[in-house]
C-alpha cells in the first residue's frame, strides 16, 4: 500500500486510485501499524482478512441483471405498448446503472472480509463507502444461515450475525456451504464461552 500513498498525496486521492489500492484482495494487509493517517480508512495491525468466495460475484450479478431486465422491460412496455415516450429515459438510466454496478461487482465482492479475532468478530465491506464493524462474540444472539436459489446452485450460503442491536448489520454473504456451517459452529462455540448479558 505504500506506493499508493506517494501517488495520492494529501486529500487528492481520486476514487479510481483509491479503488486500485483495494484491487489486490488476497494480499495480506500490512501487519505492522499503518501510518496513523493513511490515504483511506484501514485498520492498523490486524491479521489477514478472510474473503468470501469469488463465485459470489455471480449471485450479485444475476440479482442485479434480473432487476435491470425487469425494470427495462417495464420501461419498454410503457414506451412501445402504452406509447409513453418519457419511459425511455428512466429505462436508459437504469440500464446504465445496472451495467456500472455489474462492472464494479467483482471489486465490491472482494472488499467483503471478516476476521475471527480472540474476542470479537471483525467485519468489513465496501470500497467507495467503507464500513468496519467489531462485534464481541458474547454479544451474539443468533447466527442465521440463508441460501438463495442462485447461491444454492453455486453451493454458497449467507451468514448473518445477529446481536441485540439492529444496526450491527454483520452479514457475510457468499461463503461456501461447508465453510458457512463451520463458521456458524465456531461462532456459537465462541459465543458460548464468552457469554455476556444483553
Amino acid at each position: 500500500m505504500s506506493e499508493h500513498q506517494a501517488v495520492m498525496g494529501d486529500g487528492q486521492a481520486g476514487q479510481a486510485q483509491a479503488d486500485q489500492a483495494q484491487a489486490d484482495p488476497h494480499s495480506a494487509e500490512p501487519l505492522a501499524p499503518a501510518p496513523a493517517d493513511g490515504p483511506r480508512l484501514e485498520l492498523p495491525a490486524v491479521g489477514e482478512w478472510k474473503r468470501v468466495s469469488p463465485k459470489y460475484v455471480v449471485v450479485e450479478v444475476v440479482g442485479t441483471l434480473l432487476f435491470g431486465v425487469a425494470a427495462c422491460a417495464a420501461a419498454a412496455v410503457l414506451w412501445l405498448v402504452a406509447d409513453q415516450q418519457w419511459a425511455i429515459y428512466p429505462g436508459a438510466v437504469i440500464a446504465v446503472g445496472v451495467l456500472v454496478t455489474v462492472a464494479l461487482e467483482p471489486r465490491r465482492v472482494r472488499s467483503i472480509g471478516y476476521q475471527l479475532r480472540d474476542d470479537d468478530l471483525l467485519f468489513r465491506r465496501g470500497i467507495m463507502f467503507q464500513r468496519f464493524v467489531a462485534v464481541p462474540y458474547g454479544r451474539m444472539q443468533l447466527v442465521d444461515i440463508t441460501r438463495g436459489p442462485v447461491a444454492r446452485w453455486l453451493g454458497l450460503a449467507d451468514l448473518k450475525f445477529v446481536t441485540a442491536a439492529a444496526a450491527t448489520g454483520v452479514a457475510i454473504p457468499g461463503l461456501p456451504e461447508a465453510e458457512a456451517d463451520l463458521l456458524r459452529d465456531r461462532l456459537v462455540e465462541l459465543a458460548e464461552s464468552r457469554r455476556a448479558g444483553l
Binding site: D10, G11, Q12, A13, Q15, A18, A36, D37, G38, P39, R40, L41, E42, L43, P44, D119, D120, L122, G126, M128, F129, Q130, R131, F132, V133, A134, V135, P136, G138, R139, T163, A164, A165, A166, A167, T168, G169, V170, R194, A196, G197, L198
Partner: protein, 546 residues
Amino acid sequence: MSSPTRAASTSLADGAWHRLHPATPLFRGGIFMVAVLGFILANLRERLVDFFFRVPTYGGDPLDEIFRRGAVGWALLAIAVVLIVILVVFYLMWRMHTFRVDAESVEVRSGLLLRSNRRARLDRIQGVNISRPLVPRLFGAARLDVSVAGQDATVQLAYLGSAVADELRRDILRLASGAKQAAAPIAPTDAAPPSDAHPDALHGSAPAHGFEGASRFAAARVQEFLSPELDPDAAPPASVVRIPPQRLAGSIVFSLSTLVLVTLAVVMAVRAATGNPDWLIGAVVPVLGGLGYSFSRFTKSLRYSIAGTPDGVRVGYGLLSTNNETLPPGRIHAIHVFQPLLWRPFGWWQVRINKAERSANRGAAGQAASTTTLPVGTLADVMKVLELILPGYDDDQARALVTQGLLGTGHAGDGFANAPRRAAWRRPLSWRRTGYAVDDGVVLFRRGVITRDLMLVPLARLQSVGISQGPLQRMQRLASAKLHTVAGPVTASLPVVAQAQALVLFQALAAGAVASAEADTTHRWRSERAAAPAGTGTAGAEGAGA
C-alpha cells in the same frame, strides 16, 4: 430497606400459584364494557326490541309495552340471567388467572378457552413497573409489569392490591438480584392447586364487615391516594431528583410544539380579523389537539421523581394515574442528554435512555415507552441522574468530562477528541464540539450547538461498534463512527471524526467492550459485588435485609 415488614411479610414470591385482585376483570375493561352496554341499551332499546322481536308497532316506550303484555317477570329473568352469566364468566376468568414467583422466574397463566402461559426469567429482568391507572387506583389496585428484553415482552400481573404490588416488586427484585438471603423459603409446588392463602394481602386491607369496614376501606384508599408517590424509606433523600411544577410548565411552554401552536394561533387570529371564518374551523382542530397534548404531557410528568434504591433507579410520575418503574443496574444501554435552544436561557436539560425492554406503556412526556428519564432538569439534576443511571461513573474526572460534554465549546484539551478544522464546512457551527471521549468504561459522544447533545454509552452494554467512510470523507481523511446499541430513542453516532481518531476509537471500543462485558455482573447485580461499593450510592442499604 431493612424494614421489619420484609421478614414478617406474607410473601407472594414463594413459588406457589396465587390469584390476582378479585376486581381484576372489572378493572381490565369490565367497567368499560358495562358502561358501553348500558349506553347502547339506553339509546337503542326501541331499535333493539324492533330488531329482536319483530314488533314494529308499539306505543312509545318498550318498557310500557313489556308491562302491557305482562312480561315483566320474563324481562327481569332475562336480565338476571345475563348478569349471572357475566358474573360467572368474570369469576371463572379470575379463577383461571394465576401467577407465581419463584427463585428463577415469574409466571402467569390465564384464559378460559384460550389458555396462555407466560414466563420471564428473573436474571433477564430489564425492569419492574408498577402502574396505577385512575380507576384501579381509587380501589387500591395496581398493575405490576415484569419486563424482559424484547418487543412488548412483559409479564403482567394485573391487578394486585396496591400494597401487595409494592411488596411483590421488592421480592422480585431481591430474587433477581441474586442476593444471598434466606428471608423467604422457596418451595416450588408445581402440582399444588392455587391457594387463597393471602386473601387479605390480595384485597390490600383487612376483611371488611358492614359500615365500619366500608369506612375503614375508604379511609385506607384516601390515605393511599394522598400518600407520597415515592416511599420515603425506599431511597435516601439526597439521591432523589424532583421537578418543580413551574419548571415543568416552563419546559412545555418553551418547546418547539408550543412555538408552532402560537404561530398557528396568531395566523388564525389575523385571518379571523381580516374575515375568513370558513378557513378558521379547520385550523381550530390542530390547535386544540396541540393544547390537549401539552396538557396531558404536563399532568403525566407531574410529581416526577427519580431516586436511587439498592435495586436500581426508580422513576415515578403521574398525578391521577401513576407509574413507577424500577430499572435494575446495567439495564440502560444508551443515554442522551440534550438541550433544545429554547431551554438554554434557563439551563434545562432532558435525559433519554435506550432500554432492551420495549414496553407498550405510554411513558411520561407522551413518548411511547418510558424512555424519558428526566423530562426537564438543571445541570445539577442531570449530574445526579447520571450518577444514578451510570453507577460507578461519578468521580471528578467523569464530572469534568460530562460538564465539558454538555457546556464545552470544544477547545483543545477539554478531554474530547474533536473534529479537525478541515471538517468545518460539514458542520459549520458545531464542528468544534463534535467529538468523543472514552473514560472508565463509558463512551461519550458530544455534538450539536443549536441543540446540544451528549450521548453516553456504557461499554458493558455496547453491542458492536462500526466506523465508515464515504468518498468525500476519504478525500478529507475523515470518517464517521456509530455505536450499535439496542433500539430506542437514542442513536449514538458521530457524524464526523478525523480518520486517525476514528481508528483509535474503533480499537479502543473493540477492546473495551470485550473487557467491560467480561467484568460485568449486573445480571445478578447483588450477588458478586457484595463487598464492592454499591453503584447506586446507597451502599448502606446493601444486604441490610439479610
